[in-house]
């Protein structure tokens, strides 16, 4: 399992294809958002832009999860290896989490600068929200990237499958971030963090259990 994760990360480190294109894409979304909000931006707008950039770049990035395996017919080797499919899921999901974390390290500071918000006192909580949002999103996209890579029209199918399912995650993450970037109370944020944590647990478990049925040949 660790070997798969290490392999994927090594490819990424060598080529930097994924992260660099995602970073530029995230930057572009933030820019477009700026053009759409001509007046003085609010923390709500900043949170919305942050998570939109994350979701758009993340969905496109997740397409790549299994693409390399597909192109080189390695998936067959992976599946037939004496390895629990659930482990492949975990490795692939962690790979996505790492790449998206890098993306967040770029997008979050840019949001802070572009939208002129200052989360000074609550940086830790913002990191928690970002991490939980990242894990839940990666769990869902990894599971469905494995599906979409095997059917026609996969570029359209992945967002179509993923976006409705992550809507509760998106609502929770945007609401929590808006309060952290603005001036919400800790109690308000903790409710949303609970929703995010529940989402993460449910979908990581679902991916763990159901991945076997997706990759079975």
């Amino acid at each position: 399992m660790l070997a798969i994760l290490a392999k994927d990360l090594r490819i990424e480190l060598r080529t930097r294809e994924g992260v660099s294109s995602l970073a530029v894409l995230g930057l572009l979304v933030l820019l477009v958002f700026q053009f759409a909000f001509p007046e003085r931006p609010t923390p709500e707008a900043a949170a919305a832009a942050l998570w939109l950039a994350f979701v758009l770049a993340g969905t496109i990035g997740a397409q790549r999860t299994f693409l390399l395996e597909r192109e080189n017919a390695c998936m067959h080797g992976l599946v037939t290896a004496p390895l629990d499919p659930a482990m492949i899921f975990v490795a692939k999901m962690l790979g996505n989490v790492v790449i998206l974390t890098v993306l967040q390290f770029l997008v979050v500071p840019l949001t802070v600068v572009f939208f002129d918000v200052a989360p000074t006192s609550r940086l830790g909580w913002l990191a928690v929200v970002c991490f939980l949002g990242n894990v839940g999103f990666s769990a869902v996209t990894t599971l469905f990237a494995a599906i979409s890579v095997r059917i026609r029209a996969r570029e359209v199918m992945l967002p179509l499958l993923v976006l409705p399912l992550v809507s509760p995650l998106l609502i929770a993450a945007v609401q929590a971030s808006a309060r952290l970037l603005g001036d919400g109370s800790a109690a308000e944020v903790s409710v949303w963090i609970q929703v995010l944590a529940a989402f993460d647990v449910i979908f990581a478990a679902a991916g763990w259990l159901l991945f076997e049925y997706v990759v079975r040949e």
Partner: protein, 231 residues
């Protein structure tokens, strides 16, 4: 399922057909007009039962999906597929009848009320499910993918419910508590609602059986085809 079909099949249309006529008679001729909302409130007797049928569709999809993954029998897959198609129809009916009522009562076609938000998210999940099936073709693997989506979609429902409630619950509500539902003062109103609901559920079952038969025949033709021309 086949046994249920042959048992309920011939009789069911003759319960649903006249039953629905009775429902229409109740809705338009018997039930008193709601005092505050006027005649447009009668759309509730279509709107709410359609929502029940849509929700029932979702339950059937997820249960059949789980059974399919567990047993691998194609019959469960057909049930899930037929239920998703019907659920989509009823969900669309809910989303169409809602705004017709909301416009004169709320003053807006659409608001981001928790229930509306949830219904529209469920609709998009149904849409994704059906698109997955139509893009994927008749491949056996696609049935498994769809089943995974059916199960994951069901897991998502409680989270969607919680998050849309919290989301709107923290905002000042523009309209106030949704009127009508709790306020079915007249017992004949409540009776009409439940009676129509029963009719809609039976209609759902009937349509499900009809659709299932077509899917089964398609599968068997495919099997015979493969036997004659083993490609």
């Amino acid at each position: 399922m086949k046994r249920l079909g042959s048992w309920a099949g011939p009789g069911l249309p003759w319960i649903v057909g006249p039953g629905m006529l009775g429902a229409l008679y109740l809705i338009f001729m018997v039930v008193p007009t709601e005092r505050v909302q006027g005649i447009v409130q009668r759309i509730f007797y279509f709107h709410v039962p359609a929502a029940w049928a849509a929700f029932l569709g979702f339950v059937v999809v997820s249960v059949a999906s789980a059974l399919f993954l567990w047993s691998g029998r194609a019959a469960y897959d057909r049930v899930a597929r037929a239920a998703a198609e019907l659920g989509m129809i009823f969900c669309t009916l809910v989303l169409l009848t809602g705004p017709i009522w909301a416009r004169p009562i709320w003053g807006a076609w659409w608001t981001w009320d928790p229930r509306l938000t949830m219904t529209v998210i469920l609709w998009t999940i149904y849409a994704a499910y059906l698109l997955l099936r139509s893009f994927g073709g008749a491949d056996e693997a696609v049935a498994r993918y769809a089943a995974v989506l059916g199960i994951v979609g069901a897991l998502d429902i409680p989270l969607i419910m919680i998050s849309v409630r919290l989301w709107r619950g923290m905002h000042p509500s523009v309209i106030g508590a949704r009127p009508g539902e709790g306020g079915l003062a007249d017992p004949s109103m409540r009776f009409t609602l439940f009676y129509t609901g029963l009719c809609f559920v039976l209609l759902f079952v009937w349509m499900l059986l009809v659709r299932l038969r077509v899917l089964r025949v398609e599968d068997e033709i495919e099997a015979i085809h493969r036997r004659i021309h083993p490609a």
